[in-house]
Point group: C2
């Protein structure tokens, strides 16, 4: 009896932490989307206050005592899986939090708010120098943060595990090496195929209002609940919030509507995951999302498995043409499908095709690894970046906003996050292989415009499982196997050999 | 020495409270402007958490002890005016806060977030019934709140003093009675003048984009710092935030651009007051705004004394015509001035002319007073409202969204706030009489487009004084006299006898 009381009290504290987290997320969303640039110092005070408050609630010695009491209680073993998983997650986060001094939380949060603003400025003005000292600071602080968490492990290993429980450099190598090889092979075959997508088809100017209409149409189509979310514009597309308040962003380019189209489908995938987390586990640690990798598996699933599929466009192309007025009236289905799936090494990760995308991630992974090993310095980043882009993708970086400062992540201290994108592709392809077994005619359904059968499957199998399992176990729970890159490789080979005819 | 240490510690706590207040304001702004309607319960949890946190910080017994130590310290008298004023304000708010149970803060905040949403819904659907139970609840809770603060005073008196220190029903009567009489007299003269403004001139359709351009132009012109603020759209125009993050809102009507034009000038007045609060007193209680009445004096000054003046339009009309394309190319200066100053009893307070505006306020004041005296009930409000509108303004309410639910205030529990608007008019006219003495040629300056001389005068004389004085003392400090409605009456008589030629 006393144990369950303690448990309920503990969960109540966790709920409070989540409410604080929601407030922090809104402050962050607002910074990216709404905040006037002159109020960055004020915002940094607000964010630091909220982060410090969350930290002090999380590290309250009472939490430690309650955990101990529950775990040492003679009835502990009578608890079910869900209760034990909650306790495990609370203990894990508590053990992490108490290693971080509160002053550090304040310093890190303030620095990160300011650094993100400097990144925006640098990106707008194509000027690395205004951002460099802040990036250096965030890099140093992030290393320090990792060392607080575990001084015995290399900082990068600590960070990898933070974003994706259980992941290490070695584990990532096991995934990235075969994927890199397969990608290089596939790229060669695509080149040799001689088939050239007609890119002019998708480089036509599309007025902003039409692109905005398209965004809303896609979100509705993908079963995003517009009463519990919204879409806006930001320098870098992202998704924020949880449960009933999910905010996605995109950015529009007049002469490339596909940039926003796929960003919207990607972020809608993140958004639907959050909107569909299990209602009955709300505010419990097990009711949260599983990991960043699983999050990315959903966004990449919505973007690629659905959004770049032949089946989706089989029914949607006509609707799309109608929405766009006369702009695409001459586009044939085959040309359109090939154009939106054109494999072409390019500069911007979030706009990359499905095949070269993973090279962008592996490039960032290698740079992060070398940064943390001290092999390269922050001020060498632009040079290293450009060289690697040439080597791995064969492209020349024209300006720094298309180069090393294209992504927001490092500006906020998110080193070690990028690899989860490719992990998301790996999980996503594996989920989709299972989906084919569960709903063999899912392609036919999709061709008829029945997206709900697919998203319902994702909701039931992934969204509703919240954080009941660590990522590998979730993948096994859903597919019967541990994560394996072979499904992604298979998916890419099948899809592109068909499209490029080899 | 020890006393000053205590004082500094106290101010640090006050700063924290202000940061929390900023977060609460952002949550509130977001609810009005951005929040998806489905997340109202989530937002109510967030707001309740923040309000309860602020309350617990404010009522921390340590604060009481620190105040006591400082005041009983032998060196207390060596403190300067500013320090003593800070201590006075902290003590006042502490004494108030400790009377409110934390559970009540939570209940009140949650109820208010939900009630505001229900008000929005009722306004959109012209349906009082969906709002009524929530309004009833807010009314009951607000009475309870007032009773916590002072069970020995009638609730309405407590609330009046809360929004405007020192104000009572009796005091308001002393202002409202002569103003009401003067207004009725003036309205008669205006009617008898036989002069009829050509309202068709300002009822022309103006596309949204042009109205938005106009808003930005006006905000810049009035020296609002766009790097430290923004403008958006909401159901009811308002201003939120402080210091470097000031957000104003407006609402656009295609066939009446003046609604938004004057709303923007009004909110810009609020916004500039906040942006220009004294930098060196930031986050101290004395660095806050003085009162709602003084706040309204600034907004109504920007809106009326500047925005509806002959001098302003002497230079701005041509610029305005240019901005508006061909829509107003035939408008003459005299006709335009008369049209935007047309005195015509109407339904909507925020769109009322300068003369009838105060009748809208007196009507609300009388209804609030009768509500709190139990003479009328919430469900009689629509009927009472419509009857009073007929009696005082001679107009028939066509639908409830143009009637008793036009304003947001009561939905959030702000009973007793309305009278401060007219108080703002009273202060504003008195400030303007002093301005004529200080800058005798201010009209000539304004005619030349020099708005900065005026806004600088306001900044120096009012904005920079923060909350160094209670409102009557501030008015005396600025003008040499205590607040007196004669200046407003004089202003209205002078202006409208000239415009209407009597």
């Amino acid at each position: 009896m006393i144990m369950l009381e303690q448990y309920d009290k503990l969960l109540k504290r966790m709920k409070e932490l989540r409410v604080i987290g929601q407030i922090a997320q809104l402050l962050g969303w607002d910074q990216q989307v709404m905040m006037p640039k002159g109020s960055v110092m004020q915002r940094s005070e607000q964010q630091a206050f909220v982060a410090t408050l969350a930290h002090s609630k999380q590290t309250d010695p009472e939490v430690g005592k309650m955990l101990k009491k529950i775990k040492e209680h003679p009835d502990y073993d009578t608890l079910g899986y869900q209760e034990k998983r909650n306790i495990y997650l609370i203990q894990r986060d508590y053990d992490r939090a108490i290693k971080i001094p509160p002053e550090f939380v304040e310093e890190y949060t303030k620095a990160s708010v300011i650094s993100v603003e400097k990144w925006k400025e640098a990106r707008t003005n194509d000027d690395f120098s205004v951002f460099k000292p802040y990036l250096e600071k965030m890099f140093e602080l992030t290393k320090k943060y990792a060392n607080f968490l575990n001084p015995d492990l290399p900082a990068y290993e600590v960070l990898l595990d933070l974003y994706e429980p259980g992941m290490t450099t070695e584990q990532y190598n096991k995934i990235f090496d075969p994927l890199k090889n397969a990608t290089v092979e596939l790229l060669e075959k695509i080149n040799q195929s001689g088939k050239k997508p007609d890119l002019s088809l998708i480089r036509r100017e599309v007025p902003l209002e039409l692109q905005q209409k398209l965004s809303i149409d896609l979100m509705n189509l993908l079963n995003f609940d517009m009463d519990r979310g919204r879409i806006d514009v930001s320098a870098h597309p992202f998704t924020g919030g949880e449960y009933d308040d999910i905010r996605i962003t995109t950015r529009y380019s007049l002469d490339d509507f596909t940039g926003s189209l796929f960003a919207v489908m990607h972020e809608t995938g993140h958004g639907c995951y959050e909107q569909n987390l299990p209602d009955d586990l709300r505010y419990q640690p097990i009711g949260n999302y599983c990991s960043m990798g699983v999050h990315e598996s959903q966004s990449r699933f919505y973007e690629n498995i659905i959004g770049r599929s032949k089946s989706f466009w089989w029914f949607y192309l006509e609707k799309f043409k109608e929405l766009m007025g006369d702009i695409f009236s001459d586009a044939t289905y085959d040309d359109f499908i090939l154009a939106i799936n054109a494999v072409q090494p390019s500069l911007i990760r979030v706009e990359a095709d499905e095949v070269t995308y993973n090279l962008h991630i592996i490039l960032r992974f290698e740079i992060e690894r070398d940064l943390f090993e001290g092999k390269i310095k922050i001020d060498e980043l632009p040079e290293v970046w450009n060289k690697k882009m040439k080597e791995m993708l064969g492209v020349n970086v024209d300006k720094i906003s298309n180069g090393v400062i294209q992504d927001i992540h490092w500006s906020g201290g998110s080193f070690g996050y990028f690899p989860t994108y490719t992990l998301g592709n790996v999980y996503g392809a594996q989920f989709s292989a299972k989906l084919v077994k569960d709903i063999p005619d899912w392609n036919v359904k999709l061709e008829k415009g029945d997206i709900k059968s697919l998203t319902d499957w994702l909701t039931e199998n992934i969204h509703h499982k919240g954080n009941l399992f660590d990522p590998p176990e979730l993948v096994k729970e859903v597919t019967g196997e541990l994560p394996d890159p072979k499904y992604l490789i298979q998916h890419l080979n099948d899809k592109y050999s068909y499209l490029y005819g080899f």
